[in-house]
């Protein structure tokens, strides 16, 4: 259902979003949100979803552009990398969620890492990896991610078969030809092997996406964490570099464009980043030389503030849900003031309207 300036009430399928729908809100069914997004929604948006009892996204130009490219992907060519960048609060994460929802409806396999920054900071238990002595495992983060991956992609887990034998330890191993679901189960139950399970899942998906059984969407939020510094330390207090973490190492291999049969959509984020200035938002500043060279070539998509039409649409949406309770917020004066205070920034506008 599209809500917006023109108040279209017809249920338009997401695949038919075009330029004329720009600025209008459309409703996502809550059941879908629980399966596709067990993690990965911005926290304030999740609160809004809980308060309004509905999930509404605005159709905006960057997302429309990306959808157009994704609809015309050639699956024989190597995966194209798209990077959403922009200032704080402009809607990069929600645009990513829009893309993920679209691809989930088209039956793609979604590999969604909600925030790569969470993997490079505040990790309580770091184990030395059994597979490679130089690297470190993060059992908690890996097992949580595997659980959420299972919720999103239940139906694919039994269809995909692994093509190699993996040995966990002296007594346990997984035979060639067993389903991916078993690998995921092993990772969830045996938390010590969770990181290796994640590595196996990524390797198998990369190998098999070229076969054409499924389309793979790799969606990473905060991809600048992969090439930044970490705040994790070894027992002797020496810092750990990003490549010494097994999860990060495997993810870097995933984001390389040496496979075909899908697409890679990424978001840069300064909000969770470590040791980066607050005002940095351009790819060169946030990724650094190493990251930029690794991701080169990519298609950059700028996500900006609301234009007047989108701003009006957002205010209309809040008014329809009676979120703006202050009497003066309904007047022209109030709207002009909100525009001035937020400068059209979606995040700021949301925070302002929360207490009005």
């Amino acid at each position: 259902m599209l809500k917006g300036v023109t108040r279209l009430v017809s249920r338009v399928h997401k695949a038919k979003h075009e330029e004329k729908h720009e600025g209008q809100h459309y409703n996502l069914p809550l059941q879908d949100m629980k399966t596709i997004f067990p993690h990965g929604l911005p926290p304030r948006y999740a609160m809004q979803m809980k308060t309004f009892n509905e999930a509404c996204l605005m159709v905006r130009k960057p997302a429309l552009e990306l959808l157009h490219y994704l609809k015309n992907t050639n699956f024989a060519h190597p995966a194209v990398r798209y990077v959403l960048y922009g200032e704080k609060g402009t809607g990069k994460t929600l645009s990513l969620c829009h893309i993920i929802h679209f691809c989930a409806k088209q039956d793609w396999l979604i590999l969604h890492i909600p925030d790569a920054h969470l993997w490079v900071k505040d990790c309580r238990d770091l184990l030395q990896s059994s597979y490679n002595k130089q690297r470190f495992d993060q059992p908690l983060e890996a097992s949580v991610w595997l659980k959420n991956f299972k919720t999103t992609n239940e139906r694919f887990l039994n269809q995909i078969k692994i093509q190699e034998k993996y040995v966990w330890n002296k007594r346990e191993s997984i035979e060639k030809g067993s389903s991916l679901g078993e690998v995921v189960e092993q990772g969830i139950t045996r938390v010590r092997n969770a990181t290796d399970a994640v590595g196996i899942v990524l390797k198998e998906l990369k190998r098999q996406s070229s076969l054409g059984i499924f389309h793979l969407l790799v969606a990473v939020d905060g991809v600048n964490a992969l090439w930044g510094r970490t705040t994790l330390k070894r027992e002797d207090k020496s810092p750990i570099a990003a490549e010494e973490l097994a999860l990060i190492h495997n993810l870097r291999k995933m984001v390389k464009n040496d496979w075909n049969g899908g697409a890679i959509v990424m978001t840069l984020s300064q909000t969770g980043s470590l040791f980066k200035p607050r005002k940095a938002y351009l790819p060169q500043e946030l990724l650094g030389k190493e990251g930029f060279d690794a991701l080169d070539p990519f298609i950059p998509i700028l996500v900006g503030n609301y234009n007047p039409k989108e701003f009006e649409s957002c205010i209309q949406y809040y008014l329809e849900n009676s979120w703006l309770q202050h009497e003066k917020a309904h007047t022209e004066e109030g709207k002009k003031e909100l525009l001035f205070l937020s400068n059209g920034n979606p995040g700021q506008l949301e925070r302002l309207c929360a207490y009005l």
């Binding site: 308060t51 009676s322 309770q325 202050h326 207490y355």
Partner: protein, 242 residues
């Protein structure tokens, strides 16, 4: 409470030359809390509508006042008083009372988080209720705030009066200002002192405001206790001489 700003000082000096105020000065009294502005300074007019009125629409007195303001000096406006449409003097006063150590940023963010919390709680109740009850549920955090504070204001207060070597709690009428102040003070102290240490201020405040809005909760109880004490000490009312 006659002339609270003036303190008795024996042999007042000539310090008061540059620092004058509009309050009556008695011989032998020196100002304690004074303003740096001399008496001819006018208060600033922050209201946008006052300035936007076209010249033709003004009455004779208003025109005279405008001309007068051009010649008189005007005090500087406070940085916290904006000409925003969303500004509320009660909310500003409450925020200032919550402020500690001059940290207005923190006090203001706590206030906005409280209003948001009140709104979200009411929305949750609204969605859970049937359609008849939905008309009765108030979702505007500002009306809830004002009504809650009005419900907490005491009608009559107590003052300690010294008579015959003993202090008696005498029932005394309170001015509007004092009542509003007491309501806000009780609300803030209740939240700060009587709640669990680990709960955050917005959560505590929103709960207290909602309870006060429905005339329940500890702050309204304190007001009732004050009224009961005043009623109990009715006989002492003639100790008051003002």
């Amino acid at each position: 409470m006659a002339a609270p700003l003036v303190k008795a000082v024996l042999g007042s000096s000539d310090l008061t030359l540059s620092v004058r105020s509009a309050v009556l000065r008695f011989p032998g009294f020196t100002q304690v809390r004074w303003s740096r502005y001399s008496p001819e300074f006018r208060d600033p007019q922050i209201d946008k509508d006052y300035h936007r009125k076209p010249w033709a629409e003004l009455t004779e007195e208003e025109k005279f006042e405008r001309e007068l303001r051009k010649t008189q000096p005007i005090k500087a406006a406070r940085s916290a008083n904006t000409s925003s449409v969303f500004e509320d003097p009660v909310i500003s006063k409450f925020t200032n009372m919550m402020m500690k150590g001059g940290n207005k940023v923190l006090a203001r963010s706590l206030m906005t988080q409280t209003l948001e919390a009140v709104k979200r709680k009411q929305f949750k109740k609204f969605h859970a209720a049937s359609s008849e009850e939905q008309a009765t549920i108030e979702r505007n955090p500002y009306t809830i705030f004002h009504q809650a504070l009005k419900n907490c204001e005491p009608v009559i207060g107590l003052a300690p009066i010294l008579k015959g070597g003993r202090f008696y709690q005498v029932p005394v009428p309170l001015s509007d200002r004092r009542r509003r102040f007491l309501a806000m003070k009780w609300m803030i102290t209740e939240c700060r002192e009587k709640k669990h240490r680990r709960t955050l201020m917005p959560e505590k405040l929103s709960q207290e405001l909602l309870q006060a809005f429905h005339n329940q909760g500890p702050v309204v109880k304190r007001k009732h206790d004050m009224h009961k004490m005043a009623e109990a000490n009715r006989a002492l009312a003639h100790y008051r001489w003002w």
